[in-house]
Amino acid sequence: MLQIEENYDIAVIGAGHAGVEAALASARLGFETVMFTVSVDSIALMPCNPNIGGTSKGHLVREIDALGGEMGKNIDKTFIQSRMLNVSKGPAVHSLRAQADKQWYTREMRKTLEAQPRLTIRQAEVSRILVEDGKVTGVATLAGTVFRARAVIVTTGVYLNARCIYGEVSEYTGPNGLKAANHLSDSLKELGIELRRFKTGTPARMDGSTIDYSKMQEQKGDRRIVPFSFETDPASIQKEQVSCWLTYTNEETHRIIRENIDRSPLFSGDIKGTGPRYCPSIEDKVVRFSDKDRHQVFIEPEGLYTHEMYVDGMSSSLPEDVQYAMYRTVPGLEHAKIVRNAYAIEYDCIDAQQLKLTLEFRKISGLYAAGQFCGSSGYEEAAAQGLIAGINASMKLQGRKELVLDRSQAYIGVLIDDLVTKENFEPYRMMTARAEYRLHLRQDNADQRLTAIGHEIGLISDERYARFLAYVAQVDHETARMEETFVGQTPETAALLEKYGSTPLKSGATLAELIRRPELSYEALAPLDPDRSADISERAAEQVNIRIKYAGYIERQMRQVEQFRKMEKRLIPEDIDYDEVPSLRIEARQKLMKIRPASIGQASRIAGVSPADVSVLLVWLSRKG
């Protein structure tokens, strides 16, 4: 058989949200990179919901941006509606979410990829990963072509042995009828990689011209749009936005679902994969939360140049006739026509406990994994892992230290640590509740947490880094000035305080002391602050306000972070033989051998490793070291 060989440094299998970040990072860091996809027309496809960001996911996008990833920039170019969620709550849970024009998103990402030197896009199904002596050497396609590579990143998403199911119909395809990848699973198994089966689902898309919006509540975008990327000028993205629409299911909807529940492949047992507890299908909601008499349904545009509308909140794998019946009970959808029906999808993925925190397989040097293949769900979770895998494959080839963000540095750190360290039984979705130090891991300070790291790695340019440093200096200076500037008991002060319902001053106070009052803010105090420079950007002002207002909480959190880091810094040698450590309980010993934690901190998070085991390990290590 003719075997054509091509030579690359890094090969990325898959061109979804994980794949594109991985490939861009590799190529940008100087490596000849080839990225495979089953369909070049489906790069960075959004096969499910038409939005980027949201609670905790918005944080991930900001972090990706601060490290030099692409997702934030791409959604800033292609969004059609934007909202900051949770603004009435603390700054740590403010979350940006934007509706995307799906096709536009794909097109812009493809443009960026094509413009990237050293990056080759190749449509082909990779069927084998080539490994020699425990080291990856490349991949082979179904056609038999060999692509040599020193590192390979698997980002196959939901395509491995994919099966789409609704009712009695089951098709062996990826999402949207795209070709599934049916051969790679066998190669992975031969390499000793254990696979499992997860499941997820998507709702129907409706023809918007058949929807009666007058029966729904309109949801508009924010008046003032905030960009995702720290590089995007807010002024450049203020634009006309499209609306989303809110409606509800009702008793009739639920009755139809209940009466047909035996026809659902989920309940009949045809679907074996484990689905997420987050975003359950509508039949799941109706069964599990039977006390709720209605569920919210959001009608969201799929793009500017299509009528297709996404029915958010009603994913399903019921048969098509039941889908028609149930959707049409929803106010506004009485006469709606389905463009694409809802379906569930099952796919092969791994338990990420087989990976190191760098996302490299423990067993195979140079083989990395990222995205839904690792058992996560969501575009943003995938992109975050893709970026880290791309960075680490590159660091490894450069002989540099690989990047592991810890739980106190970034949501990305929480995400990867959770995937690699903990037991996950369902597609993993990021949530702010998962972050112990969320007061520190805010979306507004992602740049302060990560830009320096991105610069050090080589994905943040010197110019951008200089701009960032100037911004931080300005915020530092302005914060200090607030602490030092006094206001007296003047009539102006009294009038302003009264306006905001704030108690009058008994003696003088600093501006910072006033900012700490819940009813006041940096912005509100402008009239009392004649020395305020006009150069302070909106973002800097917000930052000063947060830093001062929440200083007490932030300080408390930083003390916890210090404690936490102590344990993270106590590294466990890679070649540790747990059989030699006396007094470990058997369960702990087995878990430690399986996961091989990098630090005492990571060890302490493994289910089945008790504080006593950690003490034992600590004592043993200090004796060795």
Binding site: Y278, P280, H295, R438, Y553, S583, V619
Partner: protein, 467 residues
């Protein structure tokens, strides 16, 4: 900087001196604050290292105990840190009060094995001894974990669990709303929260108020009645429990089939545990009971091992007894009433020999009958004798655990107070959730439970999340 730790470093017995030890940077400072010197006002901060001082421990209003205090400064101490040892003379109760006072002034309860661990980490221990440290920590931790839970009175443990659940529900609602603001609304939730937390806080207050008067924790000599089935264990428990008519509580084990009663025996408090009969069995349920019986014996301060005098000791009995080496054991040869000739006229040597007990010189042997009550006064006499001679005492871990649990109750309460203050002053819910989580964590530590993914699981269980 590591925290300053304190604990009782000797067993808590009725006789002799009890040493309360404190180690860490603040040890001398804390001791100086509670020490009132005998005649001249001596300041412990200024005394030379490795000197002993006579005086009183004073809680601000009164003297708790007359003591000798040893001040030792780093690095030449057991732990390698500043160390203060307080020799208390006033018995178990007073020593716990002294310890409690140290906690109030900034010391924290030592983790099991922590003095030794620090000694090791500070290089104060040679390699040979260090080998044993890991074992020690592991064993002590395991014991502390078991005892802290088993020590809680059943009703109290249920109460703590229920308070904890209530707090978790609040946390989960807030988290659900933060994560899915389009489904769950927090408008006006602060006021709801204040109303909902108020009963939780008063119940916590109640628990703390009663923590010292023995209503919360079982304290006493852990005495396990064991033996093969039908040896008369339950009869003995009933007799002992009824004998003094001083039953404090009676709780059937909810998770383990060990029946526990607290009794006062000649003024000494015993936690009496009746366990499943020990025998090899194929029945899985019965096996669980047997395992629990063995576990109870492992943690016991005193084992009353019962055997049928007529049958004599079987190989199985002897196997169990040999597993109890190092423990205080009294072997009760029961059913004397069924013997044709009572045994109490036999010489102790003869009884030992006859029952193959020569290999167990430390095991005391008493012939009894739960029917005629023969031998029971002697049993009482033996137990109180052992206590007064200092052979029997409370395990020091238990006293520590009880104080730690009170500290945790207080921590939970003060976290809830912080959360309420925050709610009143309009602090956003995600911030006050930090305090709620602290309270939840503190109550969890009382029950020996970690937080892990409780919040996430509760969110998914109770709330329909995501679009």
């Amino acid at each position: 900087m590591d925290k300053t730790i304190a604990a009782v470093s000797t067993g808590m017995t009725a006789s002799g001196i009890i040493i309360v030890r404190m180690s860490g940077d603040l040890a001398v400072e804390i001791a100086a604050g509670v020490f009132r010197a005998g005649r001249r006002g001596k300041d412990l901060r200024k005394v030379k290292s490795h000197t002993i001082h006579h005086g009183f421990i004073h809680d601000g209003t009164r003297d708790l105990d007359e003591v000798l205090v040893t001040v030792m400064r780093a690095p030449h101490t057991y732990t390698g840190e500043d160390t203060v040892e307080i020799n208390c003379h006033g018995g178990v109760l007073v020593a716990s009060k002294v310890l409690s006072l140290l906690f109030e002034r900034g010391a924290v309860p030592a983790e099991p094995g922590e003095f030794t661990k620090r000694a090791f980490l500070n290089g104060r221990m040679d390699l040979a001894r260090a080998e044993a440290v890991a074992d020690l920590i592991s064993a002590k931790n395991e014991f502390a974990l078991r005892s802290s839970v088993s020590q809680l009175k059943g009703a109290v443990s249920e109460k703590v669990k229920s308070l904890r659940e209530q707090i978790l529900d609040r946390i989960a609602y807030i988290e659900a709303a933060l994560d899915d603001p389009e489904h769950y609304d927090l408008t006006g939730y602060s006021e709801t929260l204040l109303t909902e937390l108020s009963p939780v806080m008063s119940e916590l207050n109640e628990l703390i108020r009663h923590a010292d008067d023995g209503a919360v924790l079982r304290q006493g000599i852990r005495t396990v009645i064991s033996g093969r089935p039908n040896a008369g264990k339950s009869s003995l428990l009933n007799i002992l429990a009824g004998y003094e008519r001083a039953i404090v509580t009676e709780i059937a084990g909810t998770t383990r089939d060990v029946l526990t009663e607290e009794i006062l025996l000649r003024g000494i408090s015993l936690i009496l545990m009746d366990t499943a009969g020990i025998r090899k069995t194929g029945d899985r349920i019965e096996q669980i009971g047997v395992d629990r019986a063995k576990e109870a014996m492992r943690d016991a301060d005193l084992v009353l091992y019962m055997a049928d005098a007529a049958e004599g000791l079987t190989a199985e009995d002897l196997e169990v007894l040999s597993g109890l080496s190092g423990k205080r054991v009294i072997l009760l040869l029961n059913k004397q009433d069924l013997l044709s000739r009572a045994m109490d006229t036999d010489s102790p040597e003869f009884i030992r020999e006859k029952n193959k007990l020569v290999a167990f010189p430390d095991v005391r042997v008493l012939p009894i009958s739960t029917v005629t009550r023969q031998g029971l006064p002697e049993l009482e006499e033996t137990i109180s004798g052992m206590f007064l001679m200092g052979e029997l005492g409370f395990n020091e871990e238990i006293v520590i655990t009880s104080l730690r649990q009170k500290e945790l109750l207080k921590e939970a309460l003060s976290s809830l107070q912080l959360a309420c203050e925050a709610a009143e002053s309009g602090v956003p819910e995600d911030l006050l959730n930090i305090d709620l989580l602290n309270a939840y964590g503190a109550l969890g530590r009382i029950l020996g439970e970690e937080v892990d993914d409780d919040v996430i699981d509760r969110v998914f269980e109770k709330f329909c999340m995501g679009k």
